[in-house]
Structures are given as C-alpha cells and as structure tokens.
C-alpha cells in the first residue's frame, strides 16, 4: 500500500475542480461554507482583509482552531503555512489537514526558498503570479497552483493579471522549439541560485554558481534546470499547467468567480469576499452557483440579485508596493 504519492496528492486537487474553496475563521463560518456548497474550507484565524488591517507578523493559525473546524465539517480542510516555513508545514501535516497552502498571505519565513514539498505526504497548493513561479512550485512538488491575485482587497484586477500572464506564457511556450524551452528553464532556475550567489559575493568572489554544486535541497543547478525543463515540456504538451489551477486573491462577487472560470481557472478560492460581506450565506451560495454556471450569464445575473453589500474593497494603486502580498516568494 502506498500513501502520500504524487498521484494521490495531485488526485486530491482534482477532486475539488470546478468548485469553490472558502476562507473561514470559526466553526460557524465553516458550517455556513459547507451549507453553501463549498468543496473545501481554508481554516485560519483571520481572513486576508483583517490580516492586512492588523499588520504585524501573520503566522500559521492555532492548531486547536484548525482541529475544531476539521471536526465540524465533512468537506476537506486546508490551512496556511508561511512561505518556506518547513516546521509550520510539518505541524499542519501532523494534525492531518487535507491540504497546505504555502501562502503569501502570511508573512514570508524564508527569504530564499519555498518548501521542498515532495518530501511531504500532504498535498500543497501554492500561489503564482506567472508561469515561472508556477513551474518552480510544481517542480518543488505543489499538487495545485492558484493565482496570487492581491488577497484581502476584494479587487479582482491582480488575479486577472496573473491568470492572463500565465495563459499568454503558455501560449508562447507552445510556439517555442525545445531548445528555446530549455533556455526558459535556465532562466527560471536562476531564482534558486540567489543564496549561493549572495554568499559568494559576500566573500569577494564572482557571483557565479557552478552547475554541479548543490544549491537547494541537495540539487545542483543543472538538476534544477533539468527538472524545470521537464515541467515546461509538460506545460507545452498539455497547453495548460500539469496540475489543477485555481483563481485566488480578490474574488468578491459571483461575476468575479465566473470571470475567473471564463479565463480558464479550474475553480476559485474566496478569502475575505464572503465573510466580509453583508450576507455571507447567500453570497457564498451565489458564488458557488456562478462558478458552476459561469457560461450562463442569465444564471449569474439571477444569483447576483439582492446579495446586499459586497466587501468594501481596496484600489490596488492605493496599496504601496511594500504592502502587496503578491511579491512575497517568487
């Protein structure tokens, strides 16, 4: 019997396709999400809008809260760890969450690296702003990708930006020769050499990395390039990411969810959009129905009626670059 395999981790992500994953901060909200037809909940102490407002360091949630939510619903429960925080991830795996979101919504823990997710039995979802981030996360073992968008803003523009960037990159990749694709892999791999380069510079040495020296989790740059190249060839062949790809970061209305499905998302994460709105149950239900009926504008219209006020939202240009969560971890 085999557990924790790639097939099982990617398979879990496939089971939530075409569905809506909702952020919840307590048992009551988790039950509302389940009642509304969520395919999973993301258990956390504060939704992104409140994390943004609170400032300070945002960390993994209290395991007791996550366990309470796991006990209260029959649908899968996900939880977030900080980018690169291997120990938070191990804690979440130990309490048995169904999927870990290595998330930019929390404060970054490792300035150089993301978690090497292939070492875990639990599946991971990771945010990505573009194809490069997505391919790096998939090579590291992410079973699922989501756009980063800009969490806690109720503003869809960044999620659209990230999905469009990814779709266009995939289209361009399909027109490339294998040699050109290999060049892309080499470029994408540079990110893993930053630590080694920084250290060499600090020693007064040229900032170059030898292809055969280990730079991340025992892998040499050459091995990483090779790994990324394989993922890119998969993307080229399939014309899409080889894992489930959701939209996240700014979904606030049924039409937002439908828009992201139209752009090719396999499903939708809704963070602050539901429980920061006037009428969470009705809005949650409407977002589920709009995700299913994204190709039927008349249904999206019907479910969008009389939902009360959506979350207030923030204009992206009003957030300083330093406050943007999407730049955490590339």
């Amino acid at each position: 019997m085999k557990k924790g395999t790639d097939l099982l981790k990617k398979g879990f992500a496939k089971m939530v396709k075409h569905g809506v994953v909702m952020d919840v901060t307590n048992v009551e909200q988790a039950q509302i999400a389940e009642e509304a037809g969520a395919v999973a909940v993301m258990a956390l102490e504060r939704v992104p809008a409140d994390i943004r407002a609170a400032g300070g360091v945002a960390r993994m949630s209290d395991p007791a809260l996550i366990e309470e939510i796991m006990d209260a619903v029959s649908i899968p429960v996900m939880a977030k760890c900080r980018i690169g925080h291997i120990k938070e991830a191990e804690v979440l795996e130990a309490i048995g969450v169904d999927m870990i979101d290595e998330s930019e919504v929390l404060t970054q823990a490792d300035p150089f690296f993301h978690i090497y997710k292939k070492k875990f039995k639990v599946p991971f979802v990771c945010g990505a702003r573009n194809l490069g981030e997505a391919v790096r996360r998939i090579w590291e073992g992410a079973a699922m990708i989501r756009t980063k968008g800009e969490a806690g803003t109720g503003n869809i523009v960044e999620a659209v930006r990230h999905m469009r960037l990814m779709n266009e990159a995939i289209a361009q990749l399909q027109r490339m020769s294998e040699e050109e694709v290999y060049g892309v892999a080499k470029f994408y791999a540079n990110r893993y050499a930053e630590l080694a380069k920084t250290v060499r510079e600090g020693m007064g040495l040229p900032a170059t990395v030898l292809e055969n020296e280990p730079i991340y989790e025992g892998f040499t740059l050459a091995e990483i390039i090779d790994g990324l190249y394989k993922v890119l060839l998969d993307v080229k062949k399939l014309g899409r990411l080889p894992v489930v790809n959701f939209a996240a970061g700014g979904v606030a209305t049924p039409a937002d969810a439908a828009l992201m499905m139209q752009l090719g998302s396999d499903g939708v994460f809704v963070g602050s959009g539901i429980f920061k709105s006037e009428n969470p149950l009705e809005r949650a239900r409407a977002i589920v129905e709009a995700t299913y009926n994204y190709d039927k504008p008349e249904v999206v219209a019907e479910v969008s009626k009389n939902l009360g006020e959506a979350m207030r939202g923030i204009d992206i240009t009003q957030i300083s670059e330093a406050e943007k969560m999407q730049y955490r971890g590339d």
Binding site: M15, V16, A38
Partner: protein
C-alpha cells in the same frame, strides 16, 4: 456507446480521458438537456455535498432519479448513489446501500493498492478520502470489489458504485469495460 459524465464538480476531465481510452465516446452532462442521447452516466469524484446541492437546484437530481440510465459512481459518485451516509445531505438514493464517508480517514490516509475485482482479478485502486459501503440493504446488491473486509465496489442491476478512482489509474479502462458489459448492455 456514448457515456455521459456529470459535470457539476470534481474530476470530470479525468473520466473523459479514461472513457476515450476504454474506446467509448464521452459527453459532459452539465445540465438537464445534456442527458439527451447518452447511454450511461458517470458520477465522478468530488465533494458529494456540493454536487448533491447543485444537482437538486438545477433539476438534475429528479431527472436522473427518474431516468433508466445505467450509472457508475466513483467515490463521491458512490456516496450520491447510496441511500444514506449518516449525515444530512442530498442523495440520489438509487442503490440499496448506506456508505461511510471518509472511511479511511483524511487525505493523509489516502492510499493506492491492488484490490480484488470480480471477474477482472487484480485492479489498481486509487483511494482518496474514500467512502466504503457500510450496510447492504437488499439481496439485489452484489459485492464486486473488496479491500480486506471493506466493501469498495458494489453492483445492483444497472448501477455500479466504487470507492476508488479507476479514472486515475492506468488499468482503469478495464473497470469501464466491466461497467458497460455488465450494467449497460444487460
């Protein structure tokens, strides 16, 4: 042979691929009108609570229940074909079984292994937060697959329910063929 796949939520595309691999034509069934022209229906893996709610709201529950379509349910599909789960959820109630959801535990307890399948011998089983049959409520239900003492595959007339995901394994096409030979053609 046109096999429909209930396309509300879950791993619809994986079933589509597997059906083609088994040599049949696949058709996504998103709405009531898509039921037209199909010879059988597959209810895929996904979240049974979410699928059940949307099936009911969009008229698919009644329509499918009152059709004489052969149906294969995998994982969430098994749950939806059953008469009860012990939880308050919307079901098709077409098979005389009750199921226990997440019977093996959470995702970290998901597993893959070979299991014994009637007439097919060994079949590769991919179990993801899988349900198992809890009680068999009538003699019309035949056990077709077991994992140790757990019942992971049952057949009742034109209906078949599996705990695992043939759509995710290399040899899954054998299971589709079994379904077509034993539930659709008979």
């Amino acid at each position: 042979m046109i096999i429909g796949i209930l396309a509300i939520q879950g791993d619809v595309e994986e079933h589509e691929e597997a059906i083609k691999k088994a040599g049949y034509t696949a058709k996504k069934v998103k709405r009531v009108e898509d039921l037209e022209g199909i010879d059988a229906l597959i209810i895929p893996g996904g979240e049974s609570t979410a699928i059940g709610k949307l099936m009911k709201k969009y008229g698919l529950l009644e329509k499918i229940k009152n059709s004489d379509l052969p149906i294969l349910g995998t994982c969430a599909g098994m749950v939806l074909l059953s008469k009860g789960t012990g939880l308050n959820q919307i079901l098709l109630e077409l098979m005389d079984i009750t199921v226990k959801r997440n019977a093996y535990g959470r995702q970290v307890d998901s597993f893959e292994k070979e299991i014994e399948f009637k007439d097919l011998g060994k079949v590769y089983g991919v179990f993801i937060r899988a349900p198992v049959v809890d009680k068999i409520l009538s003699d019309d239900v035949e056990v077709i697959a077991k994992d140790g003492d757990k019942i992971v595959g049952v057949k009742q007339g034109k209906y078949m329910a599996l705990s695992f995901h043939p759509e995710l394994s290399e040899d899954g096409y054998k299971v589709y063929k079994y379904f077509v030979e034993n539930c659709v053609k008979k």
